[in-house]
C-alpha cells in the first residue's frame, strides 16, 4: 500500500522474529547486561538534576510547538542555511533522498564516502543505494563498523552492536577488515582496548583521505541554520570537519526554533542516552566557514512518512523523539526480543509506535508491532520528551483492529479493519510470547487496568461474528498476574 522504506524489508512479523531471538541465549545475556547497565547509570545521571521534570516538560513543549508550526520553521531553516552558504534539498521519501545524495556524491567525482552514524540514512537504506551507484560508504562509528563488517543489522539505536560480545567482534575484525582496507593485526585479541585500537587504525586511513562525508544531525536550529551532532568517539568530528563536501540527511522533525532551545536538549539527551552529564564531543556548524571545515554543505530534509504521522493527533507525539534510546533500555520486551525483531531501524518501544506510523499498519510486521509491548509504561516514564508510548500503542492497536481514517502519502484514506486474522494472529502470538516470559507479562499488566477503555470493541476475523452480538468481556480491574500471585503463591 505504501512504499515507505525503513531500512529492513522482508522481515517476519514481530512475534516470529522475537521468538527466535528469545531462544538465543548469548543474545539475551548480552542484551540483559547492556540494558541493565545503562539503565542504572541513567537513573543516577538524571537524579543529579533537580529540575529534570521541568526540563522534560520544556523539551516536550519545544517539540510540540515546532511540530505545530513545522512549515514555518522549515522555511526559516531553509533561509538561514542558504544564507550561511549551504544548499537545502527536500526529499519526500527514501528513494528521493537516496537519489539526491547519490547525485551529490557523483558530482564530486568521488567513489567513496565516510559516514557518521545516522538513523535517517539507515532508514532510507542509503548505503545500498550508494553501492548500486558504485560508491563505497564506510560507517565510522565503532558499533556501526562492527555491524557493517559483520554483514549484520543494527539492533539498538545507541549501541547498534549491543547484541555482539567481544569475541564475536574480534572474529569479525579478523576476517573482514582486510576486505575493506587496513586489516586487523594477525594476533588481535578480544580486549576492548585492542579492538578499539584496531578500529582506530583501520578507520584513520579512511578519514585522512576522505573527500565526502554523509551525516545526520541530532538538532537543526531554524533561527540560525546551525546543525548539531552529538557523539563520543570523534568519528563524527572527523567526518564533519576533514572532507571537502558534507551532506547531512535529516528528518524534518529534527528542527528546533532557536539556539537557546538547545539548552534543554543538551541537558536531557546525553543523560537519557549514554547516562553521561555530557557526551565527549558535540559539533555545531552553520553553513560553511571560510578556511575551516567542508567548503560545500548540503542539507537534505527528509519526509518519508513523517507528514503522515503528523496528521494523526494521537500518533504525532512520536515525532518529538530525540532518539536517546532510553525507552529501549527499560523495556522488558526489548530486553528479551532484541532489536532485530522490530523489523525496522527503529527498535524497542519507539520503534513499535514509529514504524507502523511511518510505513502504515497494512503489512504483517507493522500490524504486529503495536502488540510488541506489555504496556508497562516504563518507556513513558524515562522518555525525556514525555512521549506517551503506551497511549500510541493502544491507539494503533485500535486502528489495526477497527480500521479508521489515516493519512498515507499525504492523502486521507479510510483503513479497513484487519482482514485474514492479521491483527488477531499478531495479538495472540505476541500474547503467547509474553506468557512464555512472565517477567514481561508482570510489568505489562499493571497498566492494562488503566487501558481498559481503549480495548477494541470488536474482534477482527472469525471472532467478529461473536462480538457482533455481544460485548467483549471487560478486562478485569485486577491484573491476572496479581490474582495468580494471590491464588498460586510467588511461583514464576
Amino acid at each position: 500500500m505504501t512504499g515507505t522504506h525503513l531500512g529492513m524489508p522482508a522481515f517476519p512479523p514481530f512475534p516470529d522474529a522475537a521468538r527466535e531471538a528469545v531462544r538465543d541465549g548469548v543474545l539475551r545475556a548480552n542484551l540483559r547486561h547492556a540494558t541493565h547497565t545503562i539503565r542504572g547509570k541513567r537513573a543516577r545521571a538524571v537524579a543529579e538534576l533537580a529540575d529534570w521534570e521541568r526540563l522534560r516538560a520544556a523539551g516536550k513543549a519545544v517539540k510540540d510547538h515546532t511540530l505545530r508550526h513545522l512549515d514555518r520553521y522549515l522555511l526559516q531553516l531553509e533561509a538561514s542555511v542558504t544564507a550561511a552558504g549551504g544548499t537545502v534539498h527536500w526529499a519526500a521519501d527514501a528513494d528521493e533522498a537516496n537519489r539526491i545524495v547519490t547525485d551529490l556524491v557523483l558530482a564530486t567525482g568521488e567513489s567513496e564516502v565516510v559516514k557518521v552514524k545516522s538513523m535517517a540514512t539507515q532508514e532510507t537504506g542509503l548505503n545500498e543505494a550508494l553501492e548500486a551507484a558504485g560508491i563505497a560508504a564506510y560507517e565510522t562509528d565503532l558499533a556501526e563498523l562492527i555491524v557493517q563488517l559483520g554483514h549484520d543489522r543494527p539492533s539498538h539505536i545507541l549501541v547498534p552492536a549491543i547484541h555482539r560480545n567481544r569475541r564475536e567482534i574480534r572474529d569479525i575484525f579478523r576476517s573482514e577488515m582486510g576486505g575493506w582496507g587496513r586489516p586487523a593485526p594477525e594476533d588481535l585479541g578480544d580486549d576492548p582496548r585492542e579492538l578499539a585500537e584496531a578500529a582506530r587504525l583501520h578507520l584513520r586511513e579512511k578519514f585522512l583521505r576522505a573527500k565526502v562525508a554523509v551525516s545526520g544531525a541530532n538538532f537543526v536550529v531554524a533561527e540560525t541554520g546551525t546543525m548539531v551532532v552529538l557523539e563520543s568517539e570523534g568519528n563524527g568530528r572527523m567526518c564533519l570537519t576533514l572532507p571537502d563536501t558534507l551532506i547531512s540527511v535529516v528528518g524534518i522533525e529534527k528542527v528546533v526554533p532557536t539556539f537557546r532551545d538547545l539548552e534543554v536538549f543538551l541537558q536531557t539527551l546525553p543523560r537519557s542516552s549514554t547516562a553521561e552529564r555530557m557526551n565527549p564531543y558535540t559539533t555545531m556548524w552553520t553553513g560553511t566557514h571560510e578556511g575551516d571545515g567542508p567548503s560545500a554543505f548540503h542539507l537534505v530534509l527528509l519526509d518519508n512518512g513523517r507528514t503522515d504521522t503528523l496528521a494523526d493527533a494521537t500518533g504525532r507525539q512520536a515525532l518529538r523523539c530525540i532518539r536517546c534510546s532510553a525507552c529501549l533500555n527499560v523495556c522488558p520486551v526489548y530486553e528479551r526480543a532484541g532489536g532485530h525483531a522490530y523489523g525496522s531501524v527503529y527498535p524497542g518501544p519507539i520503534g513499535a509506535v514509529l514504524s507502523p506510523q511511518l510505513r502504515g499498519t497494512a503489512g504483517a510486521v507493522d500490524a504486529s508491532l503495536p502488540y510488541a509491548s506489555t504496556l508497562c509504561g516504563a518507556c513513558y516514564e524515562v522518555c525525556p520528551v514525555a512521549i506517551d508510548i503506551p497511549e500510541i500503542l493502544l491507539h494503533l492497536r485500535e486502528r489495526v483492529v477497527q480500521g479508521g481514517p489515516v493519512t498515507r502519502e499525504g492523502v486521507r484514506v479510510r483503513l479497513r479493519p484487519a482482514h485474514g486474522h492479521t491483527a488477531e494472529r499478531a495479538a495472540m502470538r505476541a500474547a503467547r510470547l509474553l506468557l512464555d516470559h512472565p517477567g514481561a507479562l508482570r510489568a505489562g499488566e499493571r497498566l492494562l487496568a488503566r487501558a481498559r477503555r481503549l480495548r477494541p470493541r470488536r474482534l477482527p476475523g472469525p471472532g467478529r461474528a461473536w462480538t457482533d452480538t455481544r460485548e467483549l468481556p471487560d478486562i478485569p480491574a485486577e491484573p491476572f498476574r496479581d490474582w495468580w500471585l494471590r491464588e498460586r503463591g510467588n511461583r514464576p
Binding site: D71, T226, N235, R260, L262, T274, R277
Partner: protein, 208 residues
Amino acid sequence: MSTRDRILSRIRRATAGAPDAPPVPRDYLRVHGSRTPAETADLLAANLTEYRATVHRTDEDGIARLLARLLAASRTVLVPPALPGHWLASATATRVHDDPASTPYDLDRVDSVVTGCALAIAETGTLVLDGGPDQGRRRITLVPDHHVCVVRVPDQVVDSVPQALERLDPTRPLTWISGPSATSDIELDRVEGVHGPRTLDVVLLGAQ
C-alpha cells in the same frame, strides 16, 4: 508541484485545525546549585577528571614551565595563530603553525596541540572551542593524539549549559569537548581514544 511544496502543503493539511501549542515553560533552572567562583572551578576540575581528562592549575608565572613539562615527550606541537607567545617559551617541541594548506596527513604527523578555549562549563565538565584565534581551525584539535587546552579561570568558566549557550555565537563553528574521545560500544566497557585525541590535558590558568 515541487517536493518542497508538496511536503509543506502536507504539513499544513496535517496541522490545520490543531490547537495552538502552549508556550514553552522555561521554569527549569539556569544553574544547579550556587557556588563561589572557586567552587565552580573545583567542580569543573572534578567533572573533567571524572571523564579522564588530566587537570592542572597554574598562573601566568607558571604556565610556561607547566606546558614545557606537558609537552616534554612531544617532538612537534601545533600552534594556533594567536596563542600567547610566552605560553610556549620554555617548550622544546618544534612549533608547527596552523596552515590552511596543510593536509590531514600533515596534521597526523604532529604529536600535540595547545589551544585556548571559548569557555568551559563546570556542571558538565565541558570545554567549548569556537575557532577563535587562540584555538585555530576545528581539525587541529582533532587529529593529533594529545590536546592541551588552557582555560582562563574564572573569566572563561560558566556554571551551566544555559549560561554557556547565552555566551556563544551560533554562527561560529563550535566544538564541545567533555573528556577525551571514548567509546562504550564493546560490551559497554569504556575505552578512551578511538579517533580523537587520546590524551586531554586541561590547564586552569588563574590565581592559584
